[in-house]
Symmetry: C2
Subunit: 455 residues, 2 copies
């Protein structure tokens, strides 16, 4: 464990718990005030350790959670780090599956902290910042440090993506550090060599002006509960491949080395089934796990709702239905283009008698892959070998941090994504947690990589 | 209007409103107490006008709403009427669409009473009983009258169906009167010459042990939100016909006369669209409206639910999904057999990696059609011509009163279904209502048909 963590444990946990208590659900307008309060709290926390900080707003995004920007000058002629994290969290639903309150953190068995955001990303970025704070308090040699903490990552980083270009001068940096990803199994360190992009939208089908009796109207009224199933099921072929015409055009295939390294850092089918209670049989038939998860795009349904959902039966033909759809994208796919293709596909498949509305469209971000022989990767590899004898693996993650591409472009920095998430953390799910071991490991990583960059 | 209605309006509305205040949602165990209270209230009401009444329970159905049986001796050697109705109501959801409280009846503009059950079936059966009460108070010549009021019609009449045979002696009758159906448009009286049967079930798909991140697991974890759409969309062919093998085998085709009469009592496409805000383009392509609604079976999705349903997005792969499915059946189809076929079809179409559970199976009842030249139909026709110059139409309804077949078999009675529902009543939907005009008309019908049978 980080020695600093041991000596300051009480203070660190107190701050961490305070941070977790903000129900900063960035996607939900009703929680805007909580997001602002959370950003204000972080601003004060950073100011106390010598940062100048400001909340960045944008006229176009009034009503969006603010972006917190902070900076601190380092030693003369030292390089500049840009650190990115997000203080927004996923909605906690389904609430009934939580064993403790999602926004009242609980440390169980002196091992793990349970709360929404305990890992993603409050836990990860805050443990990194605690490592940085330790360095500052030790009076170590430091680079210039810039910090961006946003409140919309879970819903597409719309504002930060839009304003990134205008912040270009402010956020110019040599290295972009992000701590929002996972380590390999058994907490073996991992350097993220690629991320998928993401885009999402909500579709709604409307038919009759109100719910109808399924006997009196069955055979007459079009049924959106059935229609939403029919339109959604046109998105894939029987073999699990994507049926939207043109969706996979132009995808950059991975190199043999990338496939080999990705296979090495992928869990086995058995281990996956043991951890998640299901065989990893999703996606396109005939491809390996890492190919399906890292190098191929997906279209997923994140929610589908229509009609009665209570006990027993209610023989109704609902008047409307909706589905929440998201896509994961890989290099070679333009988010704007694939969203257009999906919209066109849906419009071509509207069930008879129903009206389709496409809403909450977020074109998100493209996927990317990084050159695995770059200097910053070699430095990270060296440090992670110091921290863990096993050394790091390279991982191409199926997940997305939409804004990373935009920040790379605007800051000119080389991205370095190292995080210590584990499957058991259950991010985006009930009973999310983060262990003190992960917390302390992240602090250690922060201390070492920041110092190494300062040299 | 019935003269008795005018003279006793205040008392009738008071009783009617009391009846509507019971939230007797028969399908919901949490409302069992309300159902029992409602049945007790009806028992007392009938006892006050000379009936012997009892609540029928069944060991197999402990915890089900009771069946109320009541009887009253008529004049010597007179025939026996069995009157059937149901005091249970549909759940009131979605609550936010009600303009007034569903269980606090409101009379608007001195014209219509708004409440769940104001029509279906509390309003219809209670106005019939008020007509009968008027006859009793007038000292008119009366037949023997038996009354069955049950509390599970909206969820399949399981208990009454099961005990009907054992009540056979008790409920033996010449005519089975039911007031739970609709009149033709503009309140033109209608005799129901056929009803569809109904059966329903709930299907559930399970995959991972918890909700998963759609980026980290997309391409690996099977997705039940997508799977439920896929399995449900296998139930129909592209032309809207049912794709379940054998489902339509053996269906009795209607005669030319039945088709002609049914077409006469069916609204036009334009009128339908004007009333319900949607073209009547559901069901199988190439068939007329009345064929699709009355003479062909359906499979409908009454509800489909999985994953996130709030604002914005939550990029999750849900761990489970469910759909509520109901079927309307026509003569020639055995409910048990088609339910087996649907179950088999679903089992053959389980999406990869998911576990299917079929639950809340209710085999309901078969559909039936009655001979339109029967003596009781001729009597009804004569009376309805007295009440309304236009005379009655014959209707084959798409809806079901599941228990009617069982009661016909057990009582040996000839069924006569005449009701005065109208589309604007919005049964099963928010803001259900019933007009005082309908109430009074039903009273008049009750007075005349009961008297005619007594002669």
């Amino acid at each position: 464990m980080s020695s600093y963590f041991q000596s300051s444990r009480e203070e660190i946990l107190r701050d961490y718990f305070e941070l977790l208590r903000f129900p900063s659900i960035g996607a939900d307008k009703l929680h805007l005030r909580d997001c602002v309060n959370c950003a204000m709290w972080l601003k004060k926390w950073l100011e106390k350790i010598g940062f100048s900080a400001s909340l960045e707003m944008s006229e176009k995004h009034l009503g969006s959670p603010p972006v917190l920007f902070a900076s601190r000058k380092g030693d003369e002629a030292s390089p500049t780090i840009l650190f990115y994290g997000h203080y927004d969290v996923q909605p906690p639903e389904p609430l009934e599956k939580w064993e403790t309150e999602p926004f009242e953190p609980v440390l169980k068995d002196n091992e793990r902290v349970y709360a929404r955001g305990s890992q993603d990303d409050k836990g990860q970025f805050f443990s990194f910042l605690c490592g940085m704070k330790a360095l500052i308090e030790q009076g170590a040699k430091l680079p210039n440090i810039k910090i961006l903490l946003e409140g919309q990552e879970e819903s597409g980083s719309q504002m930060l993506s839009d304003i990134a270009e205008s912040l270009s001068e402010k956020i110019k940096a040599d290295v972009l550090l992000v701590c929002d990803t996972s380590a390999a199994s058994e907490l073996r360190p991992a350097i993220i060599a690629g991320l998928r992009g993401v885009a999402h939208l909500t579709i709604k089908l409307d038919a009759a002006s109100g719910d109808l009796h399924s006997g009196e109207h069955g055979g007459l009224a079009p049924n959106p509960a059935l229609g939403i199933a029919q339109i959604v099921s046109t998105l894939h072929n029987c073999d699990g491949s994507i049926a939207v015409r043109g969706f996979c055009d132009g995808i950059l295939m991975p190199s043999e080395k990338e496939i080999r390294l990705a296979n090495e850092s992928t869990v086995s089918e058995d281990e996956y089934e043991k951890t998640f209670g299901v065989k990893p049989c999703g996606g396109e038939e005939g491809l390996s796990m890492s190919e399906r998860n890292a190098f191929r795009p997906t279209i997923e349904v994140n929610g589908i709702h229509s009609g009665y959902g209570g006990p027993g039966s209610k023989t109704v033909i609902p008047s409307s239905a909706f589905a929440k759809i998201s896509m994961r994208l890989v290099p070679g796919q333009s988010p704007r283009r694939v969203v257009e293709l999906v919209k066109k596909h849906l419009e071509n498949n509207v069930p008879r008698g129903m009206k389709l509305t496409i809403d909450e469209v977020n074109e998100g971000s493209p996927g990317f892959r990084l050159p695995i022989e770059s200097p910053i990767f070699r430095l990270a590899q060296f440090i992670l070998e110091e921290i863990d004898d096993r050394g790091p693996v390279f991982m191409w993650e199926g997940a997305s941090i939409p804004v990373v591409s935009d920040l790379v472009r605007a800051s000119g920095a080389a991205p370095l994504l190292v995080g210590f998430g584990q499957a058991e953390d259950a991010i985006h799910a009930p009973n999310e947690s983060y262990s003190l071991k992960q917390f302390s490991l992240t602090m250690k990583w922060a201390e070492k990589i920041i110092s190494a960059i300062a040299e």
